[in-house]
Subunit: 316 residues, 2 copies
C-alpha cells in the first residue's frame, strides 16, 4: 500500500502541468508552467522539481506523504530505466529523467509516454473491474493506450499502442510515419476537417460551406448534422465509417471488454458513439458473450495528469 498523495506531471510541448492526486483520482491541487521547450533538459527538469515543491508547499503536504512522482512525456520512453528516449517536440533525446529527478527527491519516480498515461488515468477511475481495455484518442492524430490483464501494455520497446498507424487502406494516403494508408490519415480530427473541406469544395453553395466561411473545425459537420442537414451528415457518416473500420480491427484482434474514446471530439457523446456502436454491431465478427463496450473518456484534459500520477500506483 502506497502513501496518500500521488504527484503527476504532464510534460507537454507548450506547458508543464502538475497535479497532486488522491487514490480516488481526485486532483486536490493543480499548477501549470510554460515548458520553454528547446532549453537544456536539465533546466526543464529543474523547473519540474520546482513545480513539485511549489505544489507541495501550497497544498501544505510533506514530501514524506508522497507515494511517488510520475512523469508523462511525449515520444518514446524506457519506462523501466526512467529514460525519455526520443521526444522531438521538447528536444529530449536519451534524457535520464528518473536519475535527474532523484537529485531533488527521494521518492520513487516513474516515466511513461503521455498517451499511455492518459489510458492509465481513464482506467484507474473506472467504477467497475475491467481486465482488458483499449484507449483511443481522436485528435490531431490518432493515439492509444492498451491495458491488458489490468496492467499497461507497452510492448517490446515501450512504443506499442500506435493504433493510429495501423493501415486501413493499402497504398492509401501518405503518412508521416513512413508508410501509407494509416488509420489516423482518415479517422483523426485533422482528417475530419480535411473531409469537411473536401465536401465544401465540391458543394460551395451548401449549408456546410456557409457556416464554415470563417473556418472549419472538427465540430462544424457535427454541429450542422445535429440540425438535420443531410450534407453535413454525409461528412460525419463518412468519417465515422473510417473511425469504425479501425475499431473493428482492434476488436477482432484484441476483443477488449472496453474501448474508451478520448480527445475533444468525444464530447460529441452519443452523436459520435451511437453511430460507432451501430457500425460495430453491423461489422463485428464474433459477438460471443456480448460485444466490446464503447464509451467516451471521462477525464478530458486531466487524463494524462492523473495517469502520470498513478504510474507509481501500479507498482504499489
Amino acid at each position: 500500500m502506497g502513501k496518500k498523495y500521488y504527484v503527476g506531471i504532464d510534460l507537454g510541448g507548450t506547458n508543464i502541468k502538475g497535479g497532486i492526486v488522491l487514490e480516488s483520482g481526485e486532483i486536490i491541487h493543480k499548477e501549470m508552467i510554460p515548458t520553454g521547450a528547446g532549453r537544456e533538459p536539465s533546466e526543464i527538469i529543474k523547473d519540474i522539481a520546482g513545480l513539485v515543491n511549489k505544489m507541495l508547499d501550497t497544498a501544505n503536504i510533506n514530501i514524506s506523504d508522497v507515494n511517488s512522482i510520475g512523469i508523462g512525456t511525449p515520444g518514446t520512453c524506457n519506462a523501466k530505466e526512467g529514460i525519455v528516449i526520443c521526444a522531438s517536440n521538447i528536444d529530449f533525446y536519451n534524457v535520464h529523467m528518473r536519475e535527474e529527478l532523484k537529485k531533488y527527491f527521494s521518492v520513487p519516480v516513474f516515466v511513461e509516454n503521455d498517451a499511455n498515461c492518459a489510458a492509465l488515468g481513464e482506467y484507474n477511475v473506472l467504477t467497475e473491474d475491467v481486465e482488458n481495455m483499449v484507449f483511443i484518442t481522436l485528435g490531431t492524430g490518432v493515439g492509444g493506450g492498451l491495458i491488458f490483464d489490468r496492467k499497461l501494455y507497452v510492448g517490446k520497446n515501450g512504443t506499442a499502442a500506435e493504433v493510429g498507424h495501423m493501415i486501413i487502406e493499402v497504398d492509401g494516403e501518405e503518412c508521416g510515419c513512413g508508410t501509407r494508408g494509416c488509420w489516423e490519415k482518415y479517422a483523426s480530427v485533422t482528417a475530419l476537417i480535411n473531409q469537411t473541406k473536401e465536401y465544401i469544395e465540391k458543394n460551395p453553395d451548401s449549408e456546410l460551406a456557409k457556416i464554415c466561411e470563417n473556418g472549419v473545425s472538427g465540430r462544424s459537420a457535427f454541429d450542422l448534422s445535429k440540425k438535420g442537414d443531410a450534407g453535413a451528415k454525409s461528412v460525419v457518416d463518412r468519417w465515422i465509417n473510417y473511425v469504425g473500420t479501425g475499431i473493428i480491427s482492434i476488436i477482432n484482434i484484441l476483443q477488449p471488454e472496453l474501448i474508451i474514446i478520448g480527445g475533444a471530439i468525444s464530447k460529441e457523446g452519443e452523436y459520435l458513439l451511437g453511430p460507432i456502436r451501430e457500425y460495430q454491431k453491423n461489422n463485428t465478427y464474433s459477438q460471443i458473450d456480448g460485444a466490446t463496450r464503447i464509451v467516451a473518456a471521462s477525464l478530458g484534459n486531466d487524463a494524462g495528469l492523473i495517469g502520470s500520477a498513478f504510474l507509481g500506483k501500479e507498482v504499489d
Copy 2:
C-alpha cells in the same frame, strides 16, 4: 511443478490427433482417429477418451503420471469453464467438454481454440525467453494467436487474435465475417491462389500460365519466381505487400518481440521472410531498441497438438 506427461488432443473437422508430450515439447507417442463430425458430441468425446486410454496403454504410461489433458478445438471456447461455445464444422455448440471428459479421467482438463493452441505450442519450444509474441498462420484464411506477458491472451470472450479480420482496405472485398476488406481476403494462401489466377487470366501466354495448366497452388508463383521469372515475381511481390501491410499494423499496435509465421507457406523460408523483413524495414514507424523479429514457425502440423498438451503447463 506438474507431472511428467502432457496429453494433447487436436480435434479437427476430419481427424482427431492425440499425442503424449514431454515438457521439452517432444511427442513420444502420437495417434489419429477420424472425427466422424456430425455425431453427438458425447459420442465424439467418448472416442477422445478412448484415444487417450489407447495411447497411454501403448506407451505404457499410467494416468497418474499425466499432468493434464488439453483439447484444441475449432471455433470459440470458454476456456475458464472448459466449454466449446461454437464450432460449426464439428457441430459443437455449448459442449461442456471438461465436464464430459471428467467422466473418464480425474486429471485436469483444459480446452482452448486450436489457433491459440498452435501459438502456445510454438511459444513453448522457443529456446529464448520471449515476453510478447504474435503467431500468424497464412493458410485457407489468416489466423493467429497472441502471447502477452508470457501468457496466452484470448480477450474478453476467448475469441481474440482474429488477425485475419483486421481491415486493410476500406470497402474492399466482401468477407464471410460480415464486413469488407479483411486482411485474409488479401494475404491468405487462398488469396495468393486467386491473385495467381488473376495474373494468368491477364497473361495467358506467360510462363506462369504454362506451369499452372494443371492447376494453381500457393506454391506456383513462388516456385517460378525462384527461377527468375519476372511475372511470377510480380505475383509474389504483390501478395507479400499485402502480408506486410497487416504485419506493420500488428507491429505498430503491439510491438511484440517476435512474430512467428506459420502455415504450409512458411516452408518457403527466406523467400517469404526476406521480402517481409524488407517490407518491415521500409514501413515501420518506431524502431527504437531494435525491430520485432519475424521468423517461420518451427513445429509445422504438430504445433496445435503440442500446444493443446501444454494448456495444462501454463497453470502449473
